[in-house]
Amino acid sequence: MSLIEVKNVTKKFGGLTAMKDLSFVLNKGEILGLIGPNGSGKTTTFNVINGFYSPTSGDVYLRTQKVTHLKPHVLCKLGVARTFQVVRPLQRMTVFDNVLASAFIRTKTKAEAEALVIEVLNFTNLYEDRAIISKGLPLGKRKRLEIARALATQPEVILLDESFAGLNPTEINEQIEIVNKIRTQRGITILIIEHHMKVIMSISDRIVVLNYGQKIAEGTPGEIGRNPVVIEAYLGEEVCA
């Protein structure tokens, strides 16, 4: 069953076409990887789904509802959460307060929200760091804080924008575990942008490949790894060997 459907979306910034007639479907319960060279329109796709940008043409559907021109906070209430590629913690707030600020959306009382925060912080292994001002957090933890904040909105689908970039191997493994847990334990559907091939190949059910704002391939990680078009545009010869 499709949860999010991007249908013939084109997004132009002046003379630059960031997304060109792009269509794909995100099914409920899956992890869909979105890959492509720099500037191929991955983050723009997120921004269109998330409501930061209005597409020039085409539509985005959530379940069966058209959500094309809704604002990000409305989409968040409908169950779409996201993280940012360049982490954007609420700098002068503690880790706990960061997550608390986003936990109010579906809770009624502050006590209820605080209980949710504790649960989410434990889930993302951040509970020990709850009292730290988020400005002082190392990058790995800030990336996890982004995920924790998104989870605190209790979403149905979560958009992860390069949640693995800049992490060391230990942190990457920890992060993979969290992403898998998000699906298995919480039943949240995941759309993920990632440059780290090992990660994307191991956690995705399906992958969509973009180049110059267009979809050039779609399929399982195995199919994508062998696809000559993808190899030429993005992966390069070494990976396929």
């Binding site: 990000p72 600020a101 909105t153």
Partner: protein
């Protein structure tokens, strides 16, 4: 101890009129309290929500004129201005919010700057309501003595303090700070930033307006240059909060104490004449340079040299 400090200060202040202070000193204390309220009002929008306004004279002046016009045109007591100005300022805040809050950062600040000036020019020219530059004067003062004025503004101050504390500990407070820290992130976390910024503006505007309405009753006279001045209200408001400490509970109050006393003290220094403004300016520059988070925000830094001496 720390928990009861506000209560202790409040009780001490309740006893203040019994000390038999001079009329002048009571006047200074009342000014401090008026500035505390204005500062706290500004702090909601500028300190916590991060929307810096250079036009709070607009709210102050509209509050003052609400009182004045009720007295002048309707012939009822100017004290009615305090409740009535809440409605007027809510309406004004909504209009201003609709126009200015779609702007961000410096552009918002500039638009509020213009707003204060628009209000002043409007007050000068809407002669049939405001009597223009002639101003509005309350001919029969409620009390000659300052005691009751003091108690009224004291309760307004305490009420504002409690309200802010309650707001900041609730969902609203977290949303305000989230918007200050990163508006786009806040938006994507399900916070309707425009809506909550408008609420912040309304709270801020009403609080500042009540201070204005009280000012009208207390001073008994306003004209456009008193109610809507760019420097004397708008800029000084920002200074009060910056000196005391933005986004702190006590910042505006400490800032008001310092700004009012400093201004009064420097003005009464002998032999300096008009140079008092220069000295005032230099002291402010030093405070902002060395205590960028204000006296409350940088309190630890401020205390450091004293701590060291004691240790040695």
């Amino acid at each position: 101890m720390k928990k009861f400090l506000p209560l202790i200060i409040f009780v001490l202040l309740l006893g203040l009129p019994f000390l038999g202070l001079s009329t002048y000193l009571m006047h200074v204390v009342i000014l401090v309290l008026i500035w505390s309220v204005i500062g706290m009002g500004w702090n909601i929008l500028g300190g916590y929500t991060g929307q810096v306004s250079f036009g709070h004279a607009a709210f102050f002046g509209v509050g003052a004129y609400t009182s004045g016009i009720l007295y002048q045109s309707m012939g009822i007591s100017a004290w009615w201005g305090l409740p009535v100005c809440i409605v007027v300022l809510l309406a004004l805040s909504l209009v201003i919010g609709f126009i200015c809050l779609r702007l961000r950062g410096a552009y918002f600040a500039l638009s509020t700057l213009a707003l204060g000036e628009i209000c002043r020019v409007a007050a000068e020219n809407l002669v049939q309501f405001t009597q223009g530059n002639m101003g509005i004067m309350i001919r029969e003062r409620t009390w000659v003595d300052k005691t009751w004025f003091f108690y009224i503004i004291l309760f307004i101050t305490v009420g504002s303090y409690i309200l802010i504390k309650k707001v900041m500990e609730s969902k609203l407070g977290y949303y305000f700070v989230a918007i200050r820290e990163d508006q786009d992130a806040a938006e994507s976390l399900g916070i309707d930033t425009t809506f909550y910024k408008t609420i912040s503006l309304c709270l801020s505007g009403v609080m500042t307006g009540i201070a204005g309405a009280f000012y009208m009753n207390y001073m008994g006279y306003i004209d456009p240059s008193i109610a809507f001045p760019l420097y004397d209200i708008s800029i000084v408001t920002v200074m009060v909060v910056m000196v005391g400490g933005a986004a702190t509970y006590w910042g505006p109050i400490i800032g008001a104490v310092i700004m009012v006393f400093l201004a009064e003290e420097i003005r009464s220094l002998p032999y300096i004449g008009a140079a008092h403004q220069t000295i005032f300016g230099i002291i402010l520059i030093l405070i902002i340079l060395y205590l960028p988070n204000g006296i409350v925000g940088d309190f630890r830094k401020l205390m450091k040299p004293f701590m060291k001496k004691r240790g040695a």
